[in-house]
Amino acid sequence: MTAAERKAPVVAVRRRTRVQPGTGFLAPTVGVLFVLTIFPFLFSVVLSFSNVSVTNGLSIQFGSLANWTQLIHDHEFWVSLSNTVVFVVVAVLFEYIIGLLLAILLVQRDLRGTRFFRTVFLIPMTLASVAIAFTWRMLYNPAYGAIDAFLRAIGINGPVWLGNTHLALLSIAAVDVWEWTPFMFLLLLAGLQGIPAETLEAARVDGATWWKSVRYIIIPLVWPVSVAGILLRMIAAFQVFGRIYVMTGGGPGITTQSATLYAFYTGVTEFNLGYGSTLALALMVVVIVAAMLLLAVTRRSVARGQI
């Protein structure tokens, strides 16, 4: 029993017995979401705690911790997870910094051609990441690609971007930066438009350096919208799959294999559905923890006045 029910039992009883107005609008959505997300999620949980065999028809024996103990000792899982974290941190960090710099440059300037630039910046976000990944795979190609050709032209011997164990993951993250920096830029620009011109002007008059007015005025003012943008991009980047699948397939070795890619290979290619589900659920736990950490750290630093 909740506190509200204990205090006002009459109201609670009445509420429970009568269908609330508007339920007809909401019920189909909630029902479909239960069937299409909650149910498969629970099914996945069951699979991860079961011995799943597909050799003689499907057999699911519930009540086994084998998958989860295997996970803890699975070196490949931890490598995949750390690849994913590196990808997320690099991609989101650069998207935020470049997006913020562009937004600061452009705020409160009446530029001609705003609509043109907004359209161009929108385009990458609307394209299939698989098509983009293929395009960049060509651009990165050491023999035919434009990037190494450009470097050769200015006298630099370009690396094998996607074949180099140190560079491959960063090269893939760069494609994410290409696709999603405009999102951060447009989001932060919209956030900055809300700041009164006088606030920024006052800082300039008081002799604040450019860096100081960014650090102590602009960043605190756009912080709420920044957190929302970083959170959204972070959650999406943790799920990275198609981009890597097309560009390297996880290689060289497993140096670019993301957590989703590993779960995909395990679940589908090797048909190990139980362990595949376990890997997927482990990723989900990591995403939730990371999101909560981000929000907690943000809240604390706001409370301390650091931001």
Binding site: T37, L111, S129
Partner: protein, 278 residues
Amino acid sequence: MGRTGRWVYIPLVFWTVIILFPIFWLAETSFKDMIAISTGPNYIPWLQFQPTLRAWQSIFSGTQTVLLPLTNSVVVGLMSTTAALILGAAGAYGLSRYHFQFGRIKNNDIMMWIVSQRMMPPIVTGIAFFLILRLLGLLDTQVGLSIVYLGMNLPLTVWFMKNYFDQVPIDIEEAARIDGASPLQSLIRVVVPVSLPGLVGTFLLTFIFAWNEFLFASLLTFSHAVTLPLFIAAQQSADAIQWWSIAAIALVSIVPMIILSVFVERGLVSGLLSGSNR
């Protein structure tokens, strides 16, 4: 800002070039053959390389044409997006106009629950869907993939449409209600017409997400219901990569989206950003 502010165009133009160059490169590749590709990066058609339509002919008339994946992408996109929009708009309307309370759960909690489903990586439900669709006989079908995309897009539709309905003034509905319209009638006859821009924007955005989706498609389809992204990825397993054909197929996937961006830029940008401004 006048003359002094002109330099701000430099970073803008720089990033514009960075965005457009790969797309230009992709478009060019679709008109190249092996010679044009292997003689290093060639940019200027007729001068540096002889453009050819071979790739375009092959994807429309070869043994494995782009037509089946294209049809699948259109059908699955339309089915899943229409269903998500009808269900999601109704749900969003309910959350926007009524105060629910189920025990301690109120409107905000329901909204949080719906939105927080984005935190769940699609691979979690994907592996389960593989078994579920197999049991139902819906693996590798347009209907099966559409159902899965409905689940993927429904939270987004509710989210976008709730933001939109919250800004639609309630007065006109109240007037309709006084005239004797039922809640459903006032939604369909009064709210939907004035919310058309939001509905169209949401429809297009969720259609784009379905159009570009890759993970579910690669888990749940393999020959009859493959979509364009899967078809692009599948080309690479061929013995020798036919860059020009993949480029042409990729263009079939991205050109409609570029056209959309150009014509409904405002609606798409505001839709993409709307979720983050809360």
